[in-house]
Amino acid sequence: MKHKTHFGMIARRFMKHKMAVICLVLLVILIVLALLAPVIAPYSPTKPSGKFSSPPSSEHILGTDKIGRDMYSRILYATQVSLEVGFLATLISTVVGVVLGLISGYFGGAVDKAIMSFTDMVMSFPYILLVLVAAAIFQPGKWSIILILGFVDWPGVARLVRGNVLSLRETNFVKSDITSGMPRRYILFSEILPNTIAPVLVYATSVFALSILDEAALSYLGMGVQPPTPSLGNLLNGAESLSVLTGKPWLWVPAGAVIILLVMCINFVGDALRDALDPRNE
């Protein structure tokens, strides 16, 4: 019962942010459309289905690309791929960050020092450089981009969790657990972890948004998701040519708009979530 009211309170606070509510609805719509791509896409995303580079028409509402593939279908599938990359990269980095942060904060001492200096190293690396080097080196593709982004984004989470664990360790309920001889596993996973979930969740939304942006940039540069698999980044790839840029806006404007919409909605939702989950906001 208590849990229910707690959740209700968070929901109520979240609802106060009108933009965030609108964004959440938009985000859900985009995600559902992307997941249902195989059902609702009118054509195949990888096979030609019409004339080359034809502008939007009743048959192809967003036109076709240079080899006659339906752009609407391609964008639906691309959104799915980009969301998948962003989600899995966020999942990996969050799990790695939470585990390292928990260990570092709870055990302290030499373990903490070693983990934190490694974290500092990864953090003082210009992020895109690491990603570029890694992307150039491993076969570019969907899975390598997921792994690369996942293993680059964790230091922020690790620091956040460590800081939280350090302050939680000083709280009375954890101290009483320690004095009453509770097993470490119980303290870590049943007491400390649940209390750091809220800030981690908020942080994860920003990692999610960043991962989508990074995937787009890398795929645009040809180092991310490889064609024929569509992704929001590699759909924009063709816009580098002047004839596409000036004469065929349907080939690049919609894909770019979807990226902006996705990332912006995730950011707004994350921001409202931060407000809603903040215990200081009574």
């Binding site: 003082s124 210009p126 150039a136 540069l221 840029l245 000036t246 990226i259």
Partner: protein, 314 residues
């Protein structure tokens, strides 16, 4: 103070070493740069001699050790592709990158600082929401997409600005010409800087506005504007200084992509071509340089902190 600075520098050395080790490890995991040379016209013997010349026939840790020893003698090695010394290659391209990053940072902060303060002062009013929404929009536009939009409007449609390079080919490139080339790339980077920082500065100012000493100042009967200008803004300098330090790695990353988009002849272009061509010494040089810059900017932030906030003692 000096002791503190020295301690920080000494602490940075192992981090720097660690970064170079990670770099080297990632690169050697990847495969040999010799793979890029293999072709029907290249004999086995030629490859072997190249490998020996570059030291690639040795185990990775020996290669790394050699690289490190050369580095301590001030030698960053030679590019595998152009045979130019890496230090020279970096030296000749760092200027444009610094120019681009510097201008973008100043431009970005010129947008972010006033906007953040404005937004905080008018908290929960319509204009606050407008500024915050704009900052979300700014940080949600991929740099390359904004570049495309700018090129489309300012170059293709209106023909106002050049879209590639740093100066018009054939001309010597006077200051005005360079500025015209600089506008679009620096707008793209500045929008990124502004987007991330408006909200940060807003919340920093909000936190200060809730401090007791501001309430006291108000209670004394000081006007709202004077309170903000004289007490709040001075204290908001601190978080703003931090922002500058935090920006540098992000800016460098952004510069790599933006330079690619606008063929800006800086380090980003060099990096991209080194990455795709597996030019290890160049990649190592750029990574080392950027790591040094990042660590140095962290240090500088700490020092500036001490200058801006007299209550911090070491």
């Amino acid at each position: 103070m000096w002791k503190y600075v020295l301690k920080k520098i000494l602490l940075a050395v192992p981090v720097l070493l660690g970064i170079t080790i990670i770099d080297y490890a990632i690169m050697s995991l990847a495969g040999s740069p010799l793979d890029m040379m293999v072709g029907p016209r290249v004999s086995e013997a030629a490859l072997a001699s190249r490998a020996a010349q570059w030291g690639l026939d040795q185990p990775v840790y020996v290669q790394y050790w050699n690289w490190l020893m050369e580095l301590l003698h001030g030698n960053l090695g030679y590019s595998y592709k152009s045979y130019q010394p890496v230090a020279e290659l970096i030296g000749s391209h760092i200027g444009p990158t610094l120019l681009l990053m510097g201008v973008s940072m100043v431009l970005g902060l010129l947008i972010a600082v006033p906007a953040g303060i404005y937004s905080a002062v008018h908290r929960y009013e319509k204009r606050d929401y407008a500024v915050v929404s704009a900052s979300f929009l700014f940080s949600s536009i991929p740099g390359f997409f904004l570049s495309l939009i700018l090129i489309y409007f300012l170059n293709v449609r209106l023909g106002l600005l050049p879209s590639s390079g740093m100066s018009t080919a054939g001309t010597g490139g006077d200051a005005l010409d360079i500025i015209r080339h600089l506008i679009m790339p620096s707008i793209v980077l500045a929008v990124g800087v502004a987007g991330g920082n408006i909200r940060y500065i807003r919340s920093a100012v909000l936190e200060i506005l809730e401090m007791d000493y501001l309430r006291t100042a108000r209670a004394k009967g000081m006007g709202r504007k004077i309170v903000i200008r004289r007490h709040a803004l001075r204290n908001a300098l601190l978080p703003i200084v931090t922002v500058i330090g935090m920006q540098i790695p992000t800016l460098f990353g952004g510069a790599v992509i933006v330079e690619q988009m606008f063929s800006w002849p800086g380090l980003g272009l060099v990096t991209m071509s080194a990455v795709t061509g597996r030019d290890y010494p160049v990649i190592m040089g750029v990574c080392l340089l950027s790591a040094v810059v990042v660590l140095a900017s962290n240090l500088l932030t700490d020092i500036l902190y001490a200058v801006v906030d007299p209550t911090i003692k070491y």
